[in-house]
Symmetry: C2
Subunit: 361 residues, 2 copies
């Protein structure tokens, strides 16, 4: 097992990566129970079904609350329901709240643990590749409202993350690919050597690739480094916002197509292609960089174009509503070269032209 | 005008107390607008009606959103509705969110500003005595759920508080008294000289008492001192929890009687009498201290007994659900002497006996 320490301004927390990470979680929760602290685990119902043995073990130290996976659960209604259940079960300020599932469960549970009694300790057991590389670093939690994704939430850092790759055995192939989108994103935004290493792989990455643990740790540590410098995304240039590479377009795709049509990672993959096209339109990169990125996404079985077109106006409107938009400006992470990116406000006209370029590809 | 600086771990913010404080607020918001930041003000509809001139001035620098006052507005439904309105109005991360009203508007708006896009800048213009002395220090925000009061919320400190006492002219007498409960609480919990000064007043306190501004500043600075040492209420002994004097019983009263039956300050007044009786039962104080506290509360036109009895079992059950209860223990701020208090877990049997003593008074 590998332990990565994520440094925050006031403390640090471990991400424990390896096949025995779930057992480490059990040990940690047992210790909490022995300190007379109660543990509540909000778990994806599909995960509970697929891992009955693990669920049984966990239920001896934690009260398990089953939640249906899928973006629809990231709602205010579900948030309210979980807070009520915790109160009915007499969860108190010293209780620990655990997310066991993918990004949806993590984001939802994170916001519950941030808000229940104004904040309880939060632990994560991610079960998808996406949540292992994305949600376990950064402390972003949130739910969706009709007006947009993650518009309501909190910064709430976990006490520890237990990344057990054995969960990936039962992960559908499409979900695995969606996770690879975030791994590739990390390489594109800040590590050209990592990008080359990924590009040199002959075999497609899978749950038993020898390179997987390293790729997870690499992606997490790259993200951790960016987050450490800018924990609450307040830097005016670069900083944490760089992690949004592909996300400005990606969120708009999810919003316009309707949440659930594309997996988050799929939307980010298409968003990365779009922002690469935008960067070309701005004269930053050429055709070859676009090909390299598109080829790598395709090799990971990720989409690089929209299934159903979205008009430029719909894109612009959705992006203006996005949290990343400030004072009516469209802000993007643009690509200077593979492994080097920066944030920039881009004129609407140029964005529209880039959307047209992309639609023609 | 008096400016009190409240020190937090990383920054400080001003509480500006005086008749011109509203104009100071207007100046501050104008500056934000000139920096291309949008300002949203969530205001009590009754305040808007009573202060049309001020509302007109404010509307030139801020988008005003009217909310009905009263505990019923501290709901998840209203929280969700406000987040949606902000999104529809294109509020962004740099927007400032202002609460203009009493404690309900402050708590609700505070949680909205803590959660909207994971946190926006928060300003307060309290209009009731209670919110001036209680909600403007401490950063506690929250909403109610069926299971209890303030069970969902966040710690979110304001950027500035503008305490304009001219709002108190139109405050109903009953509400003024409710605010006095928190002023008296501050004296009982940590300042015997302040208690004596209050006790020596011949005239009842009102919006134009010469002592009022000082009393507000005194109560706020006492609270600020306690909060500075324990911003997130993590101290195991004393610390911020001392501010809950009278609140363990008080919250239970509000919960059992149904929110709205008693004003918060009224419930705290009765709660203080109950905890004084509990402290006597524990051998900490005698009859004379109880009389002094009861007399002062009565002089401020506050209730010191329940209108409709609540059974000891209902009290215990409600208190176990309270945020202050940890691991099934009942925890109280008990009174050693007027001006000196400490936190202690108290056995259920003793609590039941004290409730019986109180019911017999």
């Amino acid at each position: 097992m590998i332990t990565l320490k994520v440094k925050l301004s006031k403390r640090e927390y471990p991400i424990i990566v390896g096949d025995g990470a779930f057992d480490e979680a059990l040990k940690t929760f047992s210790q909490l129970v022995s300190q007379k602290r109660s543990v509540f685990c909000i778990a994806d119902s599909a995960v509970l079904k697929a891992h009955t043995e693990k669920a049984k073990k966990l239920s001896s130290v934690a009260k398990i609350i089953s939640v249906k996976g899928g973006e629809a659960s990231k709602s205010i209604k579900k948030f309210a329901e979980l807070c009520s259940i915790l109160a009915q079960e007499h969860a108190d300020r010293k209780s620990a709240i655990v997310a066991w599932g993918g990004g949806v469960i993590g984001d939802l549970t994170g916001f519950v643990s941030a808000s229940y009694m104004r904040g309880a300790d939060f632990y994560q057991i991610p079960t998808t590749l996406l949540s292992m590389v994305d949600s376990s670093v950064g402390g972003k939690t949130g739910i969706n409202i009709a007006e947009g994704k993650n518009l309501v939430g909190a910064f709430h850092q976990p006490k520890a993350v237990f990344t057990d790759m054995s969960f990936l055995k039962t992960l559908p192939k499409r979900q695995f690919s969606a996770g690879m989108a975030e791994v590739i994103k990390c390489a594109v935004l800040g590590d050209s050597r990592f990008f080359k290493k990924l590009a040199s792989q002959k075999e497609k990455m899978s749950y038993n690739s020898p390179m997987l643990a390293d790729a997870i740790v690499k992606a997490c540590s790259l993200k951790a480094k960016v987050v450490a410098d800018d924990e609450r995304e307040t830097a005016s240039q670069g900083g944490r916002a760089l992690l949004n590479l592909g996300h400005t377009f990606g969120h708009a795709i999810e919003h316009c197509a309707g949440y659930g049509k594309y997996l988050h990672g799929e939307a980010v993959a298409i968003g990365m292609v779009m922002v690469a096209v935008l960067s070309r339109r701005m004269g930053l990169i050429g055709d070859s960089e676009i090909s390299e990125i598109v080829d790598m996404l395709k090799f990971a079985d990720l989409p690089t174009s929209l299934r159903t077109p979205i008009s430029a106006d719909d894109f612009i409107d959705a992006m203006l509503r996005d949290k990343k938009s400030v004072s009516g400006q469209l802000r993007f992470v643009v690509i200077d070269s593979i492994g080097k990116t920066h944030t920039e406000n881009v004129d609407k006209k140029i964005v529209k032209k880039a959307i047209a370029d992309f639609q023609k590809m």
